[in-house]
């Protein structure tokens, strides 16, 4: 387990910033009570974890340390960063763009479908095309995240069955991908 290198940090932050925008800063600045969270690399996986806990966890052997704090995602072999469903909490708190879906769109999303225009209840203002977006249900419960297929202006003109947001992760993965979600 170690902290990220310069390059790794850049890759990670670029990815996160596509969802969070400027509020990425709030992730890396200490909270008002003085506690600070840090990114740690274990194997190819990146965890976002309180600094105290990160310091405690060094006492465990690497191969026996399975997880700590929140899993954000992992580096692929080509050096890209793939963000994981478990980062949803983090993204939802700091998201730049959000989309709220109606009740009839919840189950299709949880079964791994994309968000259709008919399911969209509300969209963040001036959302561009291909921007990272967090998907919430009507009670503000985050259910997943994805990438917009059209800018918010264009979406209004789409027909109901066309895709509004390409799904990247959804809460249904906790069941569907139970076996592979945390394999190291």
């Amino acid at each position: 387990m170690r902290s990220l290198t310069e390059e790794e940090t850049r890759t990670l932050f670029t990815k996160l910033a596509s969802y969070t925008g400027r509020s990425l800063n709030s992730l890396i600045t200490p909270a008002e009570d003085g506690s600070q969270s840090v990114f740690r690399l274990q194997g190819s996986r990146v965890y976002y974890v309180n600094k105290d806990i990160a310091n405690l966890s060094v006492s465990f052997p690497r191969d026996q340390l399975l997880s700590m704090g929140t899993l954000i995602g992992k580096y692929t072999k080509t050096g890209k960063f793939r963000i994981n469903l478990t980062a949803l909490d983090l993204l939802a708190q700091n998201a730049r763009y959000k989309v709220w879906i109606k009740a009839n769109g919840v189950m299709p999303l949880l079964y791994g479908g994309s968000v259709l225009k008919a399911h969209v209840a509300r969209f963040s203002e001036d959302c561009p095309e291909n921007a990272g977006v967090v998907i919430l249900d009507s009670n503000d419960v985050p259910l997943g995240f994805g990438v917009t297929a059209r800018s918010s202006a264009q979406i209004a003109k789409l027909d109901p069955t066309s895709i509004a947001v390409h799904r990247q992760a959804d809460a249904g993965e906790y069941l569907r991908e139970e076996d592979t979600l945390f394999t190291t």
């Binding site: 309180n50 465990f60 340390l65 704090g69 909490d89 009670n139 259910l143 069941l175 979600l181 945390f182």
Partner: protein, 734 residues
């Protein structure tokens, strides 16, 4: 195994069969109770007198009319009786039970009768249903026998010339009946002594046939009743053991337990309660979900689920986060709320250890056996995501589910490790404020969830598993920081009801670690106190502060919770115990002698010392260690050991040589004193008996001594020259 028999619906039995089976008993019960009830019958008698000739016809009518009433009345009465014995709600079963307990039912009907004349008739009507000929007869007797005094005066008053003849005839008849009744009563009294006994032991002959479950059940209830009052109900020739033997056999057949397990569980309770326990193991426990307070609160979760059509209510006053689910049209493990981490499916019993532990914010807490994470996430929620929760589990596949739950429920203060908690803690990390040990167990408390336990657990498991639990609990205690301002607590829990895994383990630990004491669990009066003595063993008086939970009493899974507080450092002398403990798993496999493994090695050392005198004689062969050759062999064994562990011996051994030193120390530990003496005494006499491997337990040492004796005799006979030659040849070959 599949579902138990009670879970499949068994319709009520055909009434005719039932009556045939229990007819005898019913009559006896009725007959026994009927006589001392004069009041109601008297009234009826006076009715009868008014119309002597018409007596029979209306009576019959009345009886027939009342019969259905009796039937309708009984079911109402019955459940209250059965429910007292079995607090678990079993709506389907009540009918069954009622039929089985028919003899009680009769008693009920009759005792009612004393208050109400109609009911008296009903009670008798039952009898009449069975066999009208006999019963009409009987009715007559009882009446005649009971009320002759009153009747006489009645009859005399109304004596006239017209009816004198009829009355006198009637009186004669009554007198005759009276005699008959007396006779029959005598017979019945004779039968009375062995009211159910012949039934209990009668059916045993049919061995090869598939057991008739209904009869079997009947016999179980009968036997239990007899055991409740053996003096009056038992057969003269049969002892309590016979009855218990029979009962256990029946229970094994009826519920499908192995004899061993049935006996073990049976011994925990009175026969009646044991029966209730076995019954409760056949019915599923209620489905309970726990609100994740990190994400939502109970009120809004309940609202959300109710909107989905789920029927639920708070689980009880003892928990603020539990919701009991009665029925749900949607799968509870796949609702959007579940996936968003608003709740987790968790048995009510597994709330309890965490509530007892009561972790506070900003503490460092350890969960030693944490998968699948219900308790871990509960702890995390109680700490509001502050501090640190170390969740360990020895199984990697199970740890996957644990990580999933932790992330789903949004617990950010956790570290998940996959280690053997016996050896890893406190080595890897200590100084915890609180430790939860929900130990792996035989699962005798959750038989309703996993009926496989009924057959899969054997004697060995009940030795090996408690042994492991002891090791874990010792490790847990050692991992706690006694000086913690807020904590210093250990909670030990199992989902098992047997004493071996609960009180006995705690008692052992209290002896081994005098620096811990049992404290109140803080769970209030929910549950029953731990046992203070069991089968001749007495436990610490504070064991009453621990809590036991049973499926038939609290309708939660069988569970045990004990809270310990560490008050001081573990004394240095006691830390020796940690040494053999670290080698625990090996020993557990080789010799699963539950309590005594630690003591054994200590006890046996002096025996070697004692032989110090005889060392000259015995140890002449035994003592001579050839250091260079030893070193060679020790090194080889060490390399093998490392290879077995999957390490590269070259890499490890060339570096610090630490492990090697420790190993050689270990070997010398057991035999050092004798070895020294002996080497001094017979330094010149060096024969070839040295340890063959570094794994040297005391037991082996004993064996060696025996062999050395033999060999010495041999050498005496053959001469030592030969041997030395062999020796040198060996050396040369190396």
């Amino acid at each position: 195994m599949g579902v138990g028999r009670r879970m499949k619906k068994q319709g009520p039995p055909a009434p005719l069969d039932e009556s045939k089976i229990t007819m005898l008993k019913k009559r006896k019960a009725g007959g026994a109770e009927a006589p001392p009830k004069p009041a109601p019958a008297k009234r009826r008698r006076s009715d009868a007198d008014e119309a002597v000739s018409k007596k029979d016809a209306p009576k019959k009518k009345k009886v027939n009319g009342a019969a259905p009433k009796a039937d309708s009345k009984e079911p109402k009465k019955q459940p209250s009786v059965t429910k007292k014995a079995v607090p678990v709600p079993m709506s389907d079963d009540d009918e069954d039970m009622e039929d089985d307990d028919d003899e009680f039912g009769d008693l009920d009907g009759i005792s009612e009768g004393s208050m109400d004349s109609d009911d008296e008739v009903e009670g008798l009507s039952d009898l009449e249903d069975d066999n009208s000929v006999v019963d009409s007869d009987e009715e007559g007797h009882t009446r005649g026998a009971m009320f002759s005094d009153d009747e006489d005066s009645d009859a005399e008053e109304r004596l006239t010339a017209a009816n004198i003849e009829g009355l006198s005839r009637k009186l004669d008849a009554e007198q005759q009946e009276e005699e008959e009744a007396a006779e029959q009563e005598m017979q019945e009294a004779a039968l009375q002594t062995n009211i159910a006994a012949p039934d209990v032991f009668a059916d045993q002959t049919q061995q090869g046939l598939a057991p008739d479950l209904q009869l079997l059940r009947q016999r179980i209830t009968d036997t239990i009743r007899i055991l409740g009052d053996l003096k009056t109900l038992g057969l003269p020739g049969k002892s309590r053991t016979d009855y218990i033997d029979l009962l256990l056999d029946d229970i094994c057949t009826y519920y499908g337990y192995t004899r061993f397990l049935a006996e073990k569980l049976f011994n925990l309770f009175t026969p009646r309660e044991a029966f209730a326990f076995f019954e409760a193991n056949e019915t599923p426990r209620p489905v309970v979900i726990r609100t994740n307070t990190l994400r939502t609160n109970r009120r809004s979760l309940a609202q959300a689920l109710i909107n989905r059509g789920v029927v639920l209510e708070p689980v009880g006053k003892w928990s603020k986060v539990g919701l009991q689910v009665f029925e749900s049209p949607v799968p509870l493990g796949a609702t959007p709320e579940y996936l968003a981490g608003h709740y987790i499916l968790q048995a009510a019993s597994s709330f309890l250890p965490v509530m007892a532990l009561a972790p506070q914010p900003n503490e460092r807490v350890l969960d030693m056996a944490s998968a699948p994470g219900g308790k871990t996430t509960y702890m995390s929620a109680l700490m509001r995501n502050t501090g640190c929760v170390v969740a360990n589990d020895a199984s990697k596949p199970r740890a996957k589910g644990l990580i999933g739950n932790i992330h789903r429920l949004g617990c950010k203060n956790t570290i998940v490790t996959n280690m053997d908690a016996r050896t890893a803690f406190p080595k890897a990390m200590g100084g915890f404020d609180r430790v939860l040990l929900d130990a792996p167990c035989t699962g005798t408390g959750v038989i309703s969830k996993d009926p496989g336990v009924k057959t899969s657990k054997n004697e060995r498991d009940f030795l090996a598993i408690p042994h492991m639990q002891r090791q874990l609990l010792l490790a847990a205690i050692d991992s706690v920081d006694h000086a913690s301002k807020t904590g210093g607590y250990i909670v030990y829990s199992t989902c098992s009801v047997t004493v071996e895994e609960n009180e006995a383990v705690v008692q052992y630990v209290l002896r081994k670690r005098p620096n811990v004491k049992i404290v109140d669990t803080g769970l209030g009066s929910f549950g029953s106190p731990g046992l203070l003595s069991y089968m001749g063993k007495t436990f610490d008086p504070k064991m009453a502060l621990t809590r036991r939970y049973f499926p038939h009493r609290e309708n939660v899974d069988g569970f045990y919770v004990c809270k310990l507080k560490k008050t001081a450092v573990t004394p240095v002398a006691k830390s020796d115990d940690a040494e053999p403990r670290s080698k625990g798993p090996k020993k557990a496999r080789s010799a699963p002698s539950a309590a005594s493994t630690d003591d054994e090695s200590v006890d046996k050392t002096p025996i070697v010392d004692e032989n110090g005198h005889a060392a000259d004689f015995e140890g002449g062969a035994f003592s001579s260690f050839e250091d260079p050759e030893d070193a060679e062999r020790i090194a080889r064994a060490e390399r093998n050991r490392l290879r077995r562990k999957g390490l590269n011996p070259k890499g490890v051994l060339n570096k610090p040589k630490k492990s090697k030193v420790s190993v050689s120390e270990k070997t010398s530990e057991t035999a050092t004193p004798s070895q020294k003496e002996e080497t001094e005494a017979v330094a010149s006499k060096r024969t070839s008996n040295e340890p063959k491997s570094e794994k040297k337990t005391v037991v082996k040492g004993d064996k060696k001594q025996v062999t050395t004796e033999k060999e010495e005799k041999k050498t005496a006979a053959k001469g030592k020259v030969e041997k030395k030659e062999k020796k040198s040849a060996k050396k040369a070959s190396k």
